[in-house]
Homo-oligomer: 321 residues x 4
């Protein structure tokens, strides 16, 4: 029996033009169809939708419920809403609408009020519905506001850099925020397209061994290094081969965020055309007079040319950054 | 001393007619008696009960508390509730009830209001009780709404499929929602009924080794594969033997849901009569013109016949899906 | 250099009369002094204090804040509180107090209202303070209500039971609630008092190896078994020796509660006088006619006599349960 | 290829005057520049800022929103706010401001109320904005109040103490609060400054092996011990060498807090001048008459002189504590 190949959960089969596996925002190029309404989770939708959509939907829901209760007061008899009756039907209906709003939001000015058991009952229902309904809206509001997220700055390019007498594949990452991230781990995969005997392409994934797969603290930059030693899937590869094989390096990071009190994740990828041969990262921080380290987060991408052992400096690395 | 047998926490002893160990909804066929009221946790009940029961209980609780405070105003003397006195006792009591509702929900129209220290004190108590009581109701409301859950689509059947020159036991799973699940793990157990020398049946559990026990990403389908190699409890088993032994394959999955920011779990099981011999899964996704992958979640169950090595294609696999 | 002894974080040094290390409620017999007010965390106190104390403190806080604002209205001039002035100073002050309550709880009847900038400003402050203050009260309220907890039923006694031709130390545990607990782990320590050459007692801890340290599911009972084999600290021990050494078995359990969506913990301990020699646990569940298993949670303690290999049945086990 | 050196995520390169790596409050001496507004997370800021700043910002936000809506009523026509018109424009504007506050906080006295569709619509918007806006404020309020934190007391000094016939590096830690912390882990790093052949300093980090890297319970003190055996980076080091190498011992602790139901972290460090040679910790607890252990949390720093094998007692340890 043959040994199966490593697959991180993206497919190996693939025909036609290839898009990158992971987009710069960490998402996959996958569209999902056939899911029914039972698969839809309103919380998941409302927590992920953009803010304008969120506010629009909250407002819409408010208007619908508010109008329904206004109609209920109308049905029960608008004469049971003290001070709501006005010259025209429109004005009276508007009054019912506004009274409904006073009740739903529990603001309850009292310029209008329900009279008699029926209108009163509707008002009781509405105020309870208001409290429970706004529980969803306010919970979502704060949930969105306080949602954990990582804001990592990845270097614009990956480097093939000199390392311990040999070469290595490197990228650099920085926490763009000033909150503490601890126990940060990186996992790095190399994806290559290979062709079988019939010429059918398939993707091949290999996990790249890292110099250090995790750091305890993350106040500065972290240069994640894969030493290109024998046995590495990068061993002996040239820039041309990586392009021919549509190479993409997939990166997953996970750490514990002390301010959110939760784990945060980040995904990123570099394609063959984002790999610079013969360069190394320049220091992104400097020592201030008071002894503090000052780190400039945008310098995470700052590189300088570096001669690879037994290899001429490539042009790409000459202009740095 | 003999070696103990593996038990995942379900029993080995078992007499009489067997039901499946895990229901399609992930629950066990176990009923619990003898627990007292001290074992009862109102939160656990309220968070798990169906929505209609939840709303009914919230409404009931509201009505009870509301009525109790209405009676308190009555006891204190309804003349201390300005504008509450009406022609009949019923109407007056209703007014007390509605004033109580205005206070409990903090809507406070002000068409009625308490006069004198006693009625005022009851109103103060009621409004504080209202705020604290609705804290429970609204917390539960949002807790239910935002409760993490996984919505995994499992293939309708498990397959005995050709694999690497031999055979394997396979099922396929898809995330029916479009949120990101990462670091998804699967654990698969085979449960067989065996008879000891006295003919007493007992259940025997074995963990099935998987081709890959976890995937890093889950945007597509994941075909979970147990290679049937020597040493596997499935080695040499036939469909007839699995039926005779009342075989059931128990599946536990766990992943990290990036939208909920929490781990999600799913349980599932296949019985002997849900295993198809001689079939393989058909691809559930296709490449769109723009380079996206389009996955149809219902195709997770789509199979096609596949000849097993040294074995005729079974009829069951011929009709696919 | 000698090898250090295992210590779970309880002390080894110990002179004088010994109390048990872990109380039946899972707490330790330790009192803490010398902590200052900066070490005090109001949340930790309010979330752990009994319900009556909690309500009393909430009410007290409400009364204090309410009174302070009432005095502020008085200071600003009670004539700025429309309808608050009454025949006596006491009545007027009470009116200020009740108006303050209307504002703090945002019930706002409107039978009284502030007039002029100063009284209005105090009212604005008070309503904001009310909203923010009740955020603490309601958060605590729901936090207490929804606080994760495990309700495990431990067997009243630990057993030395026959096991695989030898003997074993066993206890049994059941989930007294009907929510799902998965991936339940047990860790068991034996604590013995030993005397050094100078006759000074010290506690010695050893971790007991378990037949299975965890179960995947927990719908039934779990009999946690330590096989007494050579190398076990229980090997060759008699009931008399355990008593002389003041033996206590410490138990820690941890599982994932699917309803709380969080890990839950339980601690328990058995002393030498809670260990029964020569007994085994009787089945706590039975098969119902519909094929369900019915488990009676109180039967978790049900034992029956069982002859130990090469040992007479002890009296203690004869009366069971 | 050479072996890379261990780096916990702090830098190895370092020129100029050295500050300590970890401050007593657990923070690093790093300043971050170049981050843009997109990197700024309002939740992270509001949850971490000091309480006075927090309240000031909440109040400011309230005033701004309140004033904006007051201006909206003014724009719509103050005659649409019943009872708001006053003798002077200032007074009228103040009335609009106070009515706005009644609406934003949903207190709604009803001494003023909106008349006509436009003013009413603004009021509806404002009350909804109030409910949603206060969701952020109250969520932050409770989030800050209930934020998990550990309050560990570390001994003022680290000790080089006699241990098992040799020596060891020790510090002691206590939970200054009375809540339960379980499964507490410690990781300890030694940081030394070394000079390469060109005289350029760099930091070298080594993980110190601990006698026991974790404890199950933490009701008492925990003396964390690094045995100084051959192979330890402390082996053969003198106080003078540690000073010359600017030694700093970095400490990370992590445990599960049962009251917060979450993991808590603590960081600390000792510099060469906080290490006392030839001392040991004195017991910090005593047995009370009722059998309880009484621990005095401030005694965590209490030391007594102890002769090191083959070494005179240092003066520093002579005065204890």
């Amino acid at each position: 029996m043959d040994k199966p190949q490593f697959d991180p959960g993206l497919t190996q089969q693939y025909t036609g033009v290839l898009k990158r596996a992971i987009n710069p925002n960490g998402q996959f190029n996958v569209r999902r169809t056939g899911a029914g309404w039972r698969d839809w989770h309103p919380y998941l939708f409302m927590i992920s939708t953009p803010w304008p959509v969120f506010f629009l939907l909250i407002l819409l829901a408010f208007l619908v419920v508010n109008t329904l209760f206004a109609l209920a007061y109308w049905a029960v008899g608008i004469e049971n809403l003290k001070n709501a009756e006005a010259a025209t039907a429109i004005e009276t209906l508007l009054n019912a609408f506004f009274f409904s709003a006073h009740t739903l939001t529990t603001v309850g000015y009292g310029n209008m009020w329900p009279v008699g058991p029926l209108a009163n009952l509707v008002a009781v229902f509405e105020s309870v519905a208001g409290v429970l309904g706004f529980a969803i809206a306010t919970g979502l509001m704060f949930g969105r506001f306080s949602r954990p997220s990582a804001r990592f700055g990845f270097s614009k390019t990956m480097l093939v850099a000199p390392y311990m007498g040999g070469t290595s594949l490197q990228f650099r990452v920085v926490n763009r925020r000033s909150n503490n991230i601890i126990d940060l781990e990186a996992r790095v995969l190399l994806m290559l397209v290979e062709f079988n005997e019939e010429g059918v392409p398939h993707r091949k994934y290999s996990q790249l061994t890292l110099e250090r797969p995790s750091v305890l603290f993350f106040p500065l930059t972290w240069t994640v290094v894969h030493p290109i030693v024998e046995g590495s899937p990068m061993w002996g590869k040239t820039a041309e081969e990586l392009e021919r094989q549509q190479a993409e390096v997939l990166i997953m990071m996970r750490g514990h965020d002390e301010s959110f009190g939760q784990s945060v994740h980040a995904r990123f990828s570099y394609r063959y055309d984002e790999i610079v041969w013969g360069a190394k990262f320049a220091t992104a921080f400097e020592l201030e007079e008071n002894g503090d380290l000052r780190i400039e987060v945008d310098k995470v991408s700052l590189t300088m040319p570096a001669e690879l052992p037994g290899k001429q400096l490539t042009d790409a690395a000459a202009d740095g950054r």
